[in-house]
């Protein structure tokens, strides 16, 4: 067993000797997460909006003007009937509706803090969250301008905002985009790093010729592979928490579940990805081929994981195919733990399927790896 210790130490020495490796392991994933995270969650323009101005006072017309003066929103219609608004959203004629109630202007001037309602189609969670944010900004700006014009009003309501937005998303009720997307992105990064690096490190030793040297040592196949892979398992694990931590600092997301549970699940998942790395290394003859193969595997894992395309929206045979995708399970698990704080009872099915798949992948890969040259 001490032989494994020497293998692991050597691997760590090599990893930390190359400065790029440290960057690849810990800095790049954080940057990628930020870029991807904002790319999939932000910058929504030209949201189609229905205006329901039931007040039709000077103030309410000012608000409507504020909404039409921005390229965030395109006003596509005026409609006061809530049922019609719902149908329009359903028919994709509009993504959102702004409802200004009767007597809004009068109540506002009396400092009664009247409600304005914003209805948003939650189907595209990103756009929904962002458009509510924009609407809030526009209304707040308008309210502050009002307060400056009428100092009396500001004085009365010094500590409470004149205008408060109470969000209610229609369909997909509590879908917040970053909360939903960022854990998914973390899974993707974790997968790439652990699979690619373990594959590359094995293929590189074969390419350079040192693997042949290792194969004539009395190291058993198990010791050789464990010694090569344990460092990547450990590093991927640390990286997982670095990225997870950074994500919570950078994005408005909160982890609702248990870290211990998530760690265990991540550990089980990493067996799969590192097993895939070994598999790739037994197929690829060069580092380029290993890169290409990793990319190929990655595309399959990613497209079939439910991150971008909900699995329920896929044709049946593709849905069945996703059952072979380990990322699908971990994606579901991390979202459950992250968003709902689900306990292990609820993750049981996904967990055993993921573990079974991981064990299979790992076993096949290890058996394919021979202590002989081909």
């Amino acid at each position: 067993m001490t032989k494994i210790f020497y293998m692991i130490r050597k691997e760590f020495l090599q990893i930390f000797r190359t400065r790029e490796m440290v960057a690849i392991l810990f800095i790049m994933p954080v940057i990628q997460m930020v870029v991807l995270g904002f790319a999939v969650t932000n910058e929504v323009k030209h949201i189609t909006l229905i205006i329901a101005d039931r007040d039709n006072s000077r103030l309410s017309r000012e608000i409507v003007a504020a909404f039409s003066n921005t390229d965030r929103f395109d006003i596509t219609g005026r409609e006061t009937d809530v049922r019609e608004i719902g149908l329009d959203i359903h028919r994709w004629k509009a993504q959102a509706a702004l409802i200004i109630p009767n007597h809004f202007g009068r109540d506002f001037r009396r400092g009664l803090r009247p409600d304005i309602q914003m209805i948003v189609d939650g189907l595209d969670g990103n756009a929904a969250g962002v458009s509510v944010g924009y609407a809030g900004g526009i209304l707040r700006e308008w309210a502050e301008a009002q307060a400056r014009q009428t100092p009396r009003l500001a004085m009365v309501k010094q500590n409470t905002p004149q205008l408060e937005l109470i969000e209610r998303l229609w369909y997909n009720l509590d879908l917040r985009s970053a909360q939903y997307m960022v854990p998914g992105i973390i899974v993707v990064l974790l997968t790439i790093i652990s699979m690619l690096l373990s594959a590359l490190s094995l293929v590189k030793e074969r390419e350079v010729g040192t693997l042949e040297q290792l194969m004539v040592t009395p190291l058993s196949r198990f010791e050789l592979l464990m010694g090569k892979l344990a460092p990547f398992l450990i590093l991927a694990f640390i990286e997982f928490f670095v990225v997870l931590g950074a994500a919570q600092v950078i994005f408005p997301i909160t982890m609702k579940g248990s870290y211990a549970l998530l760690s265990l699940e991540a550990f089980l998942y990493l067996f799969t990805t590192i097993g895939l790395g070994v598999m790739i290394s037994t197929i690829a003859k060069s580092q380029q081929q290993a890169l290409f193969l990793s990319w190929f595997f990655m595309l399959f894992l990613l497209m079939m994981s439910g991150l971008f395309i909900p699995i329920a929206n896929m044709p049946q045979f593709l849905q069945d195919l996703t059952l072979l995708n380990p990322m699908r399970y971990f994606m579901a698990i991390i979202r459950d733990v992250f968003q709902k704080g689900s306990g292990w009872q609820y993750l049981f099915t996904d967990t055993w399927r993921m573990t079974l798949l991981g064990t299979l992948i790992f076993a096949v890969s290890v058996l394919r790896f021979r202590k002989r040259v081909s």
Binding site: Q213, V216, P218
Partner: protein, 250 residues
Amino acid sequence: MNEIAVQTQNLTRRFGKFTAVDRLTITVSRGEIFGFLGANGAGKTTAIRMLCGLLLPSEGEATVAGFDVYKSSEAIKKNIGYMSQRFSLYDDLTISENIDFFGGVYGLSPALIEERKEALIEQVGLGDFRKRLTRDLPLGFKQRLALGSAMLHDPPIIFLDEPTSGVDPRARREFWSIINELAAAGKTVFVTTHFMDEAEYCHRVSIMRAGKLIALDSPGKLKESYGRNNMQDVFVALVNDEDPRPEEQL
């Protein structure tokens, strides 16, 4: 261990339809420096890999240190040292780290590793360089270091695949003086080379062509029976398929 270090009987390896090693039959005894010559692609590396347990033979028998290559390749690995044709140390580790690593995976105790490391560094003359990255060493030093690392566990048999290619003449001499010392200490050295002056140092030389063994004897006898003054001429004659021997000898 018995007096026979390596023995093969019709050892054959095919890659698809191509036969890289064709019915090789040799016996190498303990303490012998056994040279393996042959043009590029003759099958030397393939033969050595089979003997080291790295490659399964297609046919034939072979034992190394008394162990069968089919059944006991792991036992063979404990009894041999091997320097592959490509550089076999880690370029991005220091000299000291490389030795620690190989000593460790061969299962030596830390104290023994330390002791052998000092001896090796001393022998190669690398005292001041132990913290240097291996990639920064001149090739001659690298190869001597690689030889030492392959022998940390003190194996009775050592396989060297072109250990001196690309090495300058003086470093080659030093390398061969180590080989001679090893043989004198009872080690069996199995070495391939493209240098005919090195062939002269071997106790016996085998010459391969297209996977087949075409000559096997001491350098003196080979020169005598082919009527040439040096191994260079013997080799060229044999590899070019000239056969100067009288008919009945074939």
